[in-house]
Symmetry: C3
Subunit: 126 residues, 3 copies
């Protein structure tokens, strides 16, 4: 949803081509590396949707402003920051300095369809 220069994006689950991936919780089914791969998938979906919202032209995305990473966690898993790095690092890889962002990472009790990670984002798209 574009409002002013901001693009608020729907939270993306760890899925690809319509197939949900990484079904389960960090701290039980998955460890940090798989969580990072799940977060990267969320970021890839955000980038794909951002390109569509920018009329097919990723260059119109001025900056990644803020991401929030929600990690499907057992109560004793505490490496949410490292997991969400999987998304953060991809944004910097793709957008360079414009991919640096403020962010939040928390561990949630459950996520839709039991996916491992959900990431939402706010972008600057003039």
């Amino acid at each position: 949803m574009h409002t002013g220069n901001l693009l608020f994006m729907t939270g993306q689950l760890s899925q690809w081509n319509g197939e949900r991936r990484f079904i389960g919780k960090l701290g039980r089914e998955f460890g940090v590396e798989e969580g990072q791969a799940a977060a990267r998938l969320c970021a890839l979906n955000l980038i794909a949707h951002a390109r569509d919202a920018a009329g097919g032209d990723l260059d119109r995305v001025a900056r990644i402003v803020r991401i929030a990473g929600f990690v499907n966690s057992t109560p004793d898993f505490v490496q949410q920051s490292q997991v969400v790095n999987g998304a953060s690092d991809l944004f910097v890889d793709v957008f360079g300095d414009a991919g640096r962002h403020t962010r939040m990472a928390v561990g949630v009790a459950a996520l839709p369809y039991d996916v491992a990670v959900e990431v939402e984002a706010v972008l600057e798209v003039p």
Copy 2:
């Protein structure tokens, strides 16, 4: 809180006329349909507060930009998307196309006063 064209709204709990409703967790006390009713209550509260913030005139609300639904969930309840549809559908019923929004839905370990659902929103109010 109005800033520029955006109205950031406080997260609303499932309550009505000051009385909290739907006390308990999805996946234990409640199923999807009750969760949707709880989410609808949150949306009704958001709409009531939006009308107040817009000087009593809902027509001044240009668009619903983004909602975030937090569903009080057991670790194995994974239908948060369907629950939050209870809020999303009401926004579309009330505002038509202007009620369509980006959104996030997650399952949280606990909510204030043990209510079933909390929804926050960002609106465009010029």
Copy 3:
């Protein structure tokens, strides 16, 4: 991250001088008062970062717009609102009326490094 008049701030954990404080969950290791102290620490970190982002001049912060408080909770702890008051009250103490804000408070299953509270914020900084 500054965009237009808005400053989106990274979620701050309950830590001070690089040392994490209040390690554990509300409802198990900690009660409401300790949670409020943890939330206050998060707010202090947000204020310190806001001052840096505003070129060292807190007077350039026009308003606190929105905060979100994530409380590391057992499934039966339901006083998240009271805990997050620890942050809200500090913003009002420091900024007066400009410190009043919209907000959200939820209980999450886990937080990075097992800290008790994480708070993120959106500020108005022209």
